[in-house]
Structure formats: C-alpha cells, structure tokens
C-alpha cells in the first residue's frame, strides 16, 4: 500500500532534501526565488487553511465560549463562568458516563488488539485460502456502521431475535441483551470489538511483515518454544506499531458515537451512555446546551493531550 512508506518518506523530507520551502539551501540552483516560493506555498495551503479554521478551529473556540454561557441552540445566553462545569462535575451521570467510556475503550482497544493480533499471526502461517479469509475478515470494518448496527439489532434486540432464542435453547432462560444494564454494556463492547478488530488485524499484519524471519530460525536453533517466540521476539519487534495502534484505537473508541447510539441510544437507564452520547443527549434531547458543551469540551481537552503525546512519541522515534 502506498502510504506504508510514509515513515521513510517523512524522514527524507524533514532531513532536508526538500528545497521548495522557506529553508531553501542557498547554494542550490533553483530557478525560483525563495520569496516567490514561500508565497506560492502559502497559496497552495490557503484554501485548506481557510476550511480548517472555519470548520475545525472556530467551532472549538466557540465551544469553549459556549461552555461558559447559559445558552441554547438559538440564543447565546448569559455568561455564567464555570457553572456549567461545576454542574457537570457533580452530576453522577457524568461520572457514570466517564466510567463506561473507560470500560468501553479498554475493551475496545485490547479486545480488538488481541483478536486482531491472533488472526494476523494465524494468517501469516500456511493455511489454505488465507487471502479469502483476509478479505472476508475485513468486512466488519468496511460495512457502514449503520448497516452493521441494524444487523446486530436483528441479532440481539428483541425476545424473538436469534441470540435470545439461542440462549433459551441452551437453558439460560429469558436473556434480554439490551434491556439488562450489564448485558447491554457487554453487547455494546462486543459490537465495538467486532467492528474494530479488522483495523488491528491490518496494523498487526503490516507490522509482522517487517519482522525478519531469520530471527525465528535462530530462536528455533536455540530451542525457543512457540510461547517464547511470541513473547520474546514477535511482541517486542512489533511493539511500536502496537503502541501506535493502541493509542489510535483509544482515540477512535473515546470518540465513538454511532456504535453505541445505534444499538442502545445510551440505555437502558443510561448504562451504556458514554461521554459523547451524554454530550449529544444533553444538548439534543434535554436541550441543556451549556452543560452538554461542557462535557464535550472536557473530552476534547483529554483527547488533545492524548494526541499531542502520541504525536511527540511518533516524531521522536521516527524523525529525530
């Protein structure tokens, strides 16, 4: 895949092969004057910068402003200082949502990683039809989430659905997957793992490709067991990709709205309400814009920290 080489490419570009930018080395015979070049580069980026400011930066700043006001979707409202935040922070619903977000994220990240890694390792070995398996196993990631949520609703939502009927046939009695708070949480998490494991499988398969097979041969000669191979060779050698994929999946899980909302809407009794769903419900169902935006903004701050940390890590390892 084309983008795979991004790492090397970035290194090359940042190391100073690129000459069109402001840092043009003086001795080069480039027909453009650096000044003209700089202006051209700005012109290149201008439309994108305009859209980024209008559609990404401005809403963020406006959200910060709005979270300090007692407004609605139509009126700006009065300035209330940090009242929205104190309201949110003493609300048990907020902490319940934060707790569920953490559970959902942990299960989403490690569940999908475990399954994805296991499948990537299995598919690296010699089994018949592995290309077909690889393609089929990516389908949960390719199929739109609205479609798969509909399918999962059919599977589990009503007493007539296949899963409750299967549970009954197995003698587990009347299991209502989305009506019991704990079962609903489990179902939503399993759904998330189902959607996300193909991403992990792709990431891990790409990482495994880069492990030199001679290392395994050497380990074999030294009498390493399969378990030793996994813990002492495979995992350390793919640790960088693993780390990046964990953080990316964390970001995906924390931000996830449709996976939860389409299956449970946050219920039953708010058991599956994550922070994003809480923010949405507070603003668009209960029409309490201030507190809703405050929830969203708190989450945003956490995500800014996570992504800056990730960015730093990537740059440190890869570029410098």
């Amino acid at each position: 895949m084309s983008t795979r080489t991004a790492g090397e490419g970035l290194t090359r570009a940042r190391k100073g092969v690129a000459v069109a930018g402001p840092g043009t080395p003086g001795g080069r015979r480039v027909t453009q004057r650096p000044g003209a070049s700089r202006l051209t580069l700005f012109a290149f980026a201008a439309p994108a910068l305009f859209l980024l400011v209008l559609l990404n930066v401005y809403p963020l700043l406006y959200a910060a402003y709005q979270s300090l006001r007692d407004g609605s979707l139509i009126a700006a409202g009065d300035f209330v200082g940090l009242e929205n935040y104190t309201k949110v922070l003493v609300d048990p619903a907020f902490w319940a949502a934060a707790r569920f977000t953490v559970i959902f994220t942990l299960v989403g990240v490690f569940g999908s990683w475990f399954l994805g890694l296991a499948l990537a390792i299995l598919l690296k070995t010699r089994i018949p039809g592995k290309t077909v398996f690889r393609v089929l196993l990516l389908l949960p990631w390719v199929v739109p989430v609205v479609v798969s949520a509909t399918a999962w609703n059919w599977l589990v939502a009503t007493p007539q659905s296949p899963m409750p009927r299967l549970a009954e046939a197995l003698g587990l009695g009347n299991v209502l997957f989305l009506a019991n708070p704990v079962l609903a949480q489990v179902t939503v998490c399993v759904f998330k793992v189902w959607i996300s494991f193909p991403f992990m499988m792709m990431m891990m398969a790409a990482a495994l490709e880069s492990v030199d097979n001679n290392v395994y041969e050497a380990a074999k000669v030294d009498g390493a067991s399969r378990w030793n191979e996994l813990t002492n060779i495979t995992l350390p050698m793919i640790s960088r990709s693993t780390y990046i994929s964990w953080i990316l999946m964390t970001i995906f899980c924390v931000n996830d709205f449709p996976t939860i909302y389409l299956l449970t809407g946050g219920g039953p009794v708010n058991a599956t309400q994550s922070l994003v769903v809480l923010a949405y419900n507070t603003v668009f169902q209960n029409f309490r814009t201030g507190p809703g935006v405050a929830v969203a903004f708190l989450m945003t701050l956490v995500l800014v920290v996570i992504s800056v940390v990730l960015y730093r890590q990537i740059r440190k390892v890869q570029i410098l």
Binding site: A6, A13, G23, L136, A151, L248
Partner: protein, 295 residues
C-alpha cells in the same frame, strides 16, 4: 507452529536445502489443520451479521404473498414504499462532492506539508494531527448555530461543507505521505526547465500521485458515506436524508419488517463493498494512523 510455516514467504522461493531449519518436518503441514479450522470458525462467526443482512433482504417480507425462499420483491417494494431512491441520490451527491472538493483542496496543501520545512510547517503538522483526533460532537454544536444563521441546516450543502471540513486534516496528511515517496529531484529537474512551482507540482508530482489520490478519495468517500452523527443533527426532513439517517428512520418505523429494512441496508453497504472489492489496495485503515504505523 513450525519455523518453516512462519518463514513461509522467505523460504517459498528458495531451494529447500539453503537453510537447515527448512529440512525439519514438512513445511507448514504439521498443525495446519486446526489453524485452518480455527480461522474458518472465527470467520464464520464474524460474518453472521453481514450474511444476515443479505439473507434477510432476499427472503419474503412480512405480508408477502410469495411462497418461495428467494425473492427480490423487497427491493421492488422499497423503491415504491420509501424515499430510498432520494436518499441514495442524496448520499451519492454529498459523497461525490465531498470527495472531489477534499481531494482538490488537500492535494496542494499536502504538497506544502511534504516539501516545506520550518517551524510553521511543524506547527501545521501538529495541528492537523490534533484536529483529526477530536470528537465530532464538540464541533457539531457550534456549527449547527453558525449554519442556522445562514439557512444551511437541513440542507445537503451544509452537510457537504461539514464533511469536507472533517476530511481535511487526514486528507492533507495522506496526500503529504504519498508525496514524500516521490523524489524531489524530479521537480528540481522541471524547475531547471523553467517550470513554475505550481507547474512542477501539477506536471510532475500530481501526475505521479494517482495511488495517493485514490487512497485519499476512498478515505473521504467512506467518511461521507458512513457518517451518522452529523446527518442526524443537521437533517430534519426525509427529502434531504442521506442513507444512514434514512435507513435508521425506516428501521424505527418498520422494526419488525426485516426484509424491507435489510433491502435498504444492502443498498447502503453495496458501494463501500464494491469499492473495497475493486480498489482494496488503496484502502488505508485509520487515515493518519495507517500511514504512520504501517511503515
């Protein structure tokens, strides 16, 4: 697992005698049976929901007079009973415009990120990275207020503008990642021949960037085609629904008539699946992440 099985790719094209390890056992045969079975079982379980969508869509719906096990009448019914054609047209319009605009805007901006250097460019790169990881819900509320002032709520135009904004950060990054693989010497040669920076970009870089453009286009396509949250907030009337909200509202009204619901679902999942089947080389999972971690 055997060593030979693990090193399949390395040993497959070598004579067996080159490494002592490949003499042991018959490569990959020992234990491959249970591995195949395990993968097969996992794949079958994983595919149950997707098979169910397709299976239910071709079975007679509630109240149908058909007695056969296979029927296409659900697909006929949804065209007459629902606005699915309108939703499909809306989704296609919004998605194609989003793809077109985001590629056209991101292509030159990615060039700056790839070739430019200095503090400003580093800042630009960090901002793009942070922006792509922020929750959509935070931006949606202020944008709803802004767009209401311009009469863009409940319109497809409003939706397209937001989708272009959502794709922007990742699209720029993906284009830049691709340009990084194109040697800068090619542009230098063009400049020597009297090409302008813009000319060099179009004639040399862009002309060699089809795979990067396709990856970016597919990313934008999936984002716009699959989005539920923005469409849910911004669209109110059935005539401007895109497929995700259309399917969801139809599902809520006909929750028990699975044949019809799944027929709409099949319509919605066909375009991404077809794209995946034909262009899967250009699918980059995870946008920025895919290009960062997959090296």
């Amino acid at each position: 697992m055997t060593t030979a099985a693990l090193s399949e790719d390395a040993t497959a094209f070598q004579p067996p005698a080159t490494s002592p390890a490949s003499k042991k056992a018959e490569p990959g045969t020992r234990g491959s049976g249970w591995r195949f079975l395990l993968v097969l079982v996992v794949t079958l379980v994983v595919l149950v929901p997707i098979v169910a969508v397709v299976g239910l869509s071709v079975q007679p719906a509630l109240g149908s007079t058909s007695t056969s096990k296979f029927t296409l009448e659900n697909f006929v019914s949804i065209f007459s009973q629902t606005d699915v054609l309108t939703w499909l047209r809306n989704s296609l319009t919004v998605t194609l415009v989003t793809v077109l605009v985001s590629v056209i805007v991101a292509a030159p901006a990615g060039y700056v990120l790839s070739r430019g250097r200095g503090r400003l460019i580093s800042g630009f790169s960090l901002v793009l990275f942070v922006v792509q990881s922020l929750p959509v819900v935070t931006a949606v509320i202020p944008l709803f207020i802004l767009f209401a002032a311009f009469g863009l709520v409940d319109t497809l135009t409003g939706l397209m503008i937001i989708y272009v904004g959502s794709t922007m950060s990742v699209a720029i990054w993906m284009m830049a990642a691709y340009y990084d693989s194109i040697p800068v010497n090619l542009e230098e040669a063009a400049w020597m021949d009297g090409c302008s920076v813009f000319g060099g970009f179009v004639k040399v870089v862009l002309r060699n960037s089809l795979p990067g453009i396709l990856s970016t286009a597919i990313f934008s396509f999936l984002l716009a085609w699959n989005d539920y949250l923005v469409a849910l907030v911004f669209l109110r009337s059935s005539s401007v629904f895109t497929l995700p909200v259309g399917l969801q509202s139809f599902f809520q009204q006909n929750a028990t008539n699975w044949g019809l619901v799944m027929a709409v679902a099949v319509m919605m999942m066909l375009p991404p699946v077809i794209l995946f089947a034909t262009l899967n080389r250009y699918f980059s999972v995870g946008g920025i992440g895919g290009s960062l971690a997959g090296q």
